[in-house]
């Protein structure tokens, strides 16, 4: 074992130690995991289809319809569980893609420097100032058929710039470190240096960037779905809210229809953000409370 990897291992143990003692991290993780379990196993507790008209219209929650029924007699719980799945999908794919693109561009720009950096910087800044939401609207508006996958990919393609920026800055500061110099002198290829020397040293950063992108993608998707530009098939939490508003759930007082989807999104994304603060404290000794 080289001294660097040995050191890294010791450090990792220290992180685990602090992670297990961080309340923010623990609370956030419990909330996210609970919703994830509901999303994965929830359909076992319902025999309905999300869009199926199954029962009495506009009924309040009961033992039979846990979250009540919609204006049309659809089961809200079924919609909620299936919608949660879509939410996690968008977060994972959209957030993952955004992090991946951000990483690639950030690493290359930061490591290569010079003209490559300049031009990638211009691209990043352009995508950064364009309200990506407007772009998504105009693309989605012209597509006749839209799927969940496509939505996630579009979100990922527009959400990466700030990650790229942050990773570029980190790469710049790591680039001049001794161990990177050693790798360079020993003739390692740039891509290998990036992935074996630089990336592992900012793992904490990458994890945190992914968490933020995950939450951000969920919010963007919910907003798109709400104005009717989400997937044209299936159900999502944003779509549930749109239906509720469109069919007068507010005026009729059908609170069980519009509260669960929004509450779930706020809870998941909020928990992700709080996890992120917790992680920041774990990785950054200065922020730890003594």
């Amino acid at each position: 074992m080289t001294p660097t990897t040995k050191n890294a291992k010791k450090k990792r143990n220290e992180f685990v130690y602090f992670a297990l003692r961080n309340t923010k991290l623990k609370v956030g993780a419990v909330v996210v995991i609970t919703f994830l379990i509901v999303a994965m196993l929830g359909t076992l507790f319902t025999e309905f289809e999300p869009r199926e008209y199954v029962g009495p219209m506009s009924e309040a929650p009961s033992s039979e319809y846990w979250f009540g029924t919609t204006f049309f007699g659809q089961d809200v719980f079924t919609q909620f569980v299936v919608g949660l799945r879509a939410t996690f999908m968008v977060g994972a794919i959209g957030g993952g893609l955004a992090t991946l693109i951000g990483m690639l561009i950030g690493f290359v720009a930061g490591y290569r420097g010079g003209a490559v950096d300049e031009s990638l910087n211009v691209v990043t800044n352009i995508v950064l100032v364009v309200p990506s939401f407007a772009i998504l609207i105009i693309i989605a508006a012209y597509l006749e058929v839209r799927g969940l996958m496509m939505e996630s990919i579009f979100i990922g393609l527009t959400a990466w710039p700030w990650t790229a920026r942050a990773i570029r800055a980190q790469t710049l500061s790591l680039k001049s470190r001794e161990f990177v110099d050693m790798a360079r002198i020993s003739g390692m290829k740039p891509m290998r240096i990036i992935f074996t020397e630089i990336a592992p040293n900012m793992m904490s950063y990458l994890v945190m960037a992914f968490i933020l992108q995950f939450g951000g993608s969920i919010l963007i998707a919910a907003t798109l779905d709400f104005i009717g530009l989400g997937p044209t098939t299936g159900i999502s939490l944003g779509l549930m809210m749109q239906n509720a508003v469109n069919w007068g759930a507010l005026q009729l007082g059908l609170w069980w229809w519009f509260i669960p989807p929004g509450a779930a999104i706020a809870a998941i994304v909020g928990a992700l953000y709080i996890m992120n603060v917790g992680l920041d404290e774990v990785f950054n000794p200065k922020l730890r409370e003594m």
């Binding site: 990506s132 012209y142 104005i227 809210m241 509260i259």
Partner: protein, 328 residues
Amino acid sequence: MRRYFGRKLLIYLVTFFLAVTIDWMIPRFMPGNPVQNMLARASVRPEAAEAMYGYYTKAFGLDVPVWKQYLNFWVALFHGDLGTSVYLFPQPVSKVLRESIPYDIFLLLPAILLSWWAGNKFGAFAARTKRLDNTLLPIGYILTATPYMWLGILLAWAFGVVFDIFPIAGAYSFSMQPHWSWAFVWDVLKHWFLPFASLFLVGFGGWAIGMRNMIIYELEADYSHYMEALGAPRKLVRKYAFRNAILPQVTGLALQLGVIVAGALVTEVVFSYPGIGYLLLAAIQNQDYFLIQGCFLFIITGVLLANFLIDIVYVIVDPRIRRGMVGE
């Protein structure tokens, strides 16, 4: 400093150019004939449809070569010609937009500025004050994680339906005509309040958290420790930390603009508030391509202009750029 502004301006121009190009390209390169797609869903009488078909084919300029279509698009744009709305036929898109813009400014400007100001003040105040910090953090994170429309829905339901204090649709009562009177101003403010409050609250949470995190970093910065070592009172140390922590928040405002605008769109939808968002929803539902294009261009231009304004503000508050010491 000239270099700084030069760079920024270049980026904005390129962005604008690309946005217009996308705006032009998308309807043309999507599968199918855009005019037919559009009119197929517009509910008009057959004979009117035929006239409109002829008109829109010409308006899209599909009868000339592609490069000329593109050029014509730019020329029309500079003449303020954004085409004619389908759903509000025969009103020109530019006129429809002009009628909506005041509502957006009225809603967005106070919501953005007040939430930024109040959030920063509160975040700085709460940081390192144990009890406040412990309550602020979770509330702030939940607020900033709340989908805009959901907070709008909740507020509308609670204050508009359950307690029945505020109206929840439109910019003023249907029974009123716009005119200058206290009754009308009061009515407008009542309609404005809930959409404003939902935009304000989500923003407030985000800025408060951002400031709290920033100021904790700044209080751990070397210059803060130096002042402490020289016995400077806590108040002065915090004042300096705030001054530096506010800088990334200014940049943050520019970065958040897109998200805030998106939030405003859906908030307007929830409250049927007649701004661009409400218009855009109608345009989407009616497949009114010209109106969608117009809204898109308006949003992009607005965000770019606001970005440029923030850049100017940044130069005023950060001496380092003013003195030409750092590029960005």
